[in-house]
């Protein structure tokens, strides 16, 4: 499933032509990610993004497949641009020494820093966010945890409200 489909599927199911916060977002509709204005410059250059991808994958395996980095690149340019400084401070001296093989020990060494907390939060968001923000590509995050976004459900919703499991 392409990202375009993920967005338009939601848009279509809601019977919506534009988003709630339309004034900011009219331009965004031509873009892959409906909540990300078109021409949003990525927050980080390619080597930095590569490092962030490695770190995010270490924090939450599956982050790479879910394109968490797309969410981060967009979010740190827009909604979370006030947090850019935390990234810059946290990444200083880190990018060069980081490899696929030492990511776990690097993460352990920064576990108590504001940078780690911020990156962890943004990684979780990028993994489980509505795909209109970038990230959660092909609903990878939602599928992994068992979340479904639908307009309607019918009972039984779970095991314990199913009359056949009553006791």
């Amino acid at each position: 499933m392409s990202p375009e489909f993920a967005v338009s599927r939601r848009t279509l199911l809601c019977g919506l032509s534009i988003s709630v916060f339309a004034p900011d977002l009219l331009v965004a509709l031509q873009h892959t990610h409906a909540n990300v204005p078109a021409n949003t410059p990525p927050a980080f250059d390619v080597p930095t993004a590569k490092a962030l991808e490695i770190l995010a994958e270490g924090i939450l395996p599956g982050a790479r497949e879910a394109r968490v980095i797309d969410f981060i690149q967009n979010a740190v340019s827009t909604i979370f641009k006030d947090q850019r400084g935390i990234y810059e401070k946290g990444l200083a001296g880190l990018t060069e020494k980081l490899t696929q093989d030492n990511v776990e020990s690097v993460l352990r060494s920064i576990e108590t820093t504001p940078f780690f907390e911020t990156l962890r939060t943004h990684t979780i968001m990028g993994y489980l966010v509505h795909p209109s923000w970038g990230g959660n590509k092909d609903l990878v995050g939602w599928k992994a945890i068992g979340f479904e976004d639908a307009r309607a459900f019918q009972p039984p919703f779970g095991y314990y409200d199913d009359p056949k499991n009553a006791r």
């Binding site: 395996p61 979780i124 509505h130 945890i145 979340f147 307009r151 009972p155 779970g158 314990y160």
Partner: protein
């Protein structure tokens, strides 16, 4: 066709706030033929605008207040900027985004002082009205708005003149498990009364169980908000204009001490004066006292309607705490409404428990996906790496929450005031909140958490956990904002009379959470709305007989 008025026209009523109370008052007045302008801070969103976007609603605060608020625990402390109060800022107000628990207060909630006496450090008062006075209006609210529930199941329910207009919503796994555990303990769980339609009602569609109720607006108009249920009726009369993105900064008065209208900022931040024969404040338990304090004048030097000095005092908050349980099989709590079973066995004060007050419990889902991943897991699982990921995959569908709704004692030292330094983006004084729980409130929270853990254990949970009860951190930001302009017979100790008329100003009425004298066991919406219907009745009597 909605009404349309010029600010220079003197309308019969200006209603400030279009939420749980304002949306009802406006409709009742407009249907009776009076001209009404409703001024609402937030935008006019409708069902078609409501989407399932956790980022916008939960993390970017797109539908709630987002202006600076200062907070301190007690008057001696320095304030910090902290979001201590959360309210929905859209046409329909809190009734748009609330969970939709719809509990009537019980008979004793109106006379707790007579029943249990005073409590050291607190200011417990009787209401000037009884449950019997309000009962017809609870019924009117339930039928006008559309409430789903089942009467006669809970032995603790107060008397009612009619059953609920709609049957309860289908039980979820959290409700089934809660019922299982509670019944084994000899308790009396029952179907939650909810302001959500279980069947089509008055041209609105039934709930489709999409799961986005809490903090979200309903895309089906199945949640019985005033946006869905009463405001369209008000607009249809042609007598009611809803003016959104209109932020009232002052209620104006004349030399005779009567209200003449309001001044507000429109969406372009331009000042507009709207004249009115009478004003009804329904701006919520935090913004109403703030507006009264901002409306001071030479005649009302301490703020409007504040000769008692009690505007803003006695603030009661949304006290309660949580416990989590994880089970063997999937519950899929992300589907359907938040709450399907509740319990009122611990509602009344019981001196044997060692604290004043009591609580109700509900069984519910926890959080949307991001919120769950941030805060929903047991404390002993890893915070990152493979262990974290596996925990997310295991627990998301298998976890439920129980939430307690505990009594909040009125204390005069807990206040809404104007911050002397911090301003909002309109240049108005920021809201200053001073609040800490009474020691008995914290005891009630702890006791309730212990009971919730027992229920989850007894229901067969594989794992039960709960954050330590801390008091303030359990409560902030509060969404239930109560008691700051309370009702009373005595103008020296209360702000409005038994009919919600300001003691000091004959054509000013106040009805919202600020009117409440006691907190019940949280879930103030039904009581706020019953008071709104009752106030409207009284206003109509006065207006029709020329007594306004």
């Amino acid at each position: 066709m909605p009404g349309s008025y010029k600010p220079s026209e003197t309308v019969d009523f200006v209603v400030v706030g279009s939420g749980a109370a304002g949306g009802i008052v406006a409709k009742e007045l407009a249907v009776a033929g009076f001209s009404v302008v409703v001024l609402e801070q937030g935008p006019y969103l409708k069902a078609k605008d409501f989407q399932h976007d956790e980022m916008s609603i939960i993390y970017l605060l797109k539908m709630v207040n987002n202006e600076p608020i200062t907070f301190r625990k007690s008057a001696g402390e320095k304030v910090t900027v902290r979001k201590a109060v959360d309210y929905c800022r859209t046409v329909g107000g809190g009734s748009v985004h609330f969970t939709a628990n719809y509990w009537r207060f019980h008979e004793n909630d109106f006379q707790e002082h007579s029943k249990w006496g005073s409590v050291a450090g607190a200011d417990v008062q009787n209401w000037p009205i009884s449950y019997a006075d309000l009962e017809p209006y609870y019924t009117k609210a339930e039928y006008d708005l559309g409430i789903s529930g089942q009467a006669g199941v809970s032995p603790f329910d107060p008397p009612r003149s009619k059953p609920y207009p709609l049957p309860p919503l289908p039980v979820k796994s959290s409700g089934a498990l809660f019922e299982r555990g509670a019944k084994k303990m000899g308790l009396h769980p029952f179907p939650a009364p909810m302001a959500i339609l279980s069947q089509p009602y008055k041209g609105r569609s039934a709930c489709q169980h999409c799961g986005f109720c809490y903090c979200f607006g309903c895309e089906y108009n199945a949640k019985s908000s005033t946006l869905a249920a009463t405001i369209p009726v008000a607009e249809k009369t042609g007598k009611c204009e809803i003016r959104s993105e209109s932020y009232v900064r002052k209620v104006e008065t004349n030399a005779a001490g009567r209200v003449t209208g309001v001044i507000y900022f429109d969406r372009d931040k331009k000042e507009v004066r709207q004249k009115a024969r009478a004003v009804v404040l329904c701006a919520n338990g935090a913004e109403t006292p703030r507006l009264l304090l901002m409306s001071k004048s030479t005649r009302f030097p301490n703020g409007l309607a504040n000769s008692s000095g009690h505007v803003g005092t006695g603030l009661m908050f949304d006290t309660g705490t949580v416990a989590f349980g994880a089970f063997e099989n999937p519950l899929n709590e992300h589907k359907s409404v938040m709450v399907t079973r509740i319990l009122h066995d611990y509602y009344e004060t019981d001196p044997k428990r060692g604290f004043w007050g009591g609580f109700g419990l509900d069984a519910r889902s926890l959080a949307y996906p991001i919120g769950f991943a941030m805060d929903g897991l047991p404390p002993d699982v890893p915070r990152w790496g493979n262990g974290y990921k596996h925990a997310l995959e295991h627990y998301f569908t298998r976890t439920m929450m129980t939430l307690s709704h505990t009594s909040s004692l009125a204390q005069q030292k807990n206040t809404i005031a104007l911050d002397p330094e911090v301003k909002d983006q309109w240049g108005l004084p920021a809201m200053q909140v001073t609040w800490e729980p009474h020691p008995d409130d914290v005891k009630a929270m702890q006791y309730s958490q212990d009971r919730m853990k027992e229920i989850l254990d007894t229901a067969g949970a594989k794992k039960v956990w709960a954050p330590p009860v801390s008091g303030i951190e359990d409560v902030l930001p509060s969404r239930h904002l109560m008691g700051t302009c309370r009702m009373g017979k005595d103008p020296k100790s209360s702000v409005v009379d038994a009919n919600n008329r300001a003691h000091d100003v004959p054509n000013l009425f106040i009805v919202d959470g600020s009117s409440l004298v006691t907190s019940g066991r949280q879930q103030p919406t039904a009581t706020i709305q019953a008071l709104a219907y009752r106030t409207a009745d009284h206003l109509l009597k006065l207006a029709k007989s020329g007594q306004l």
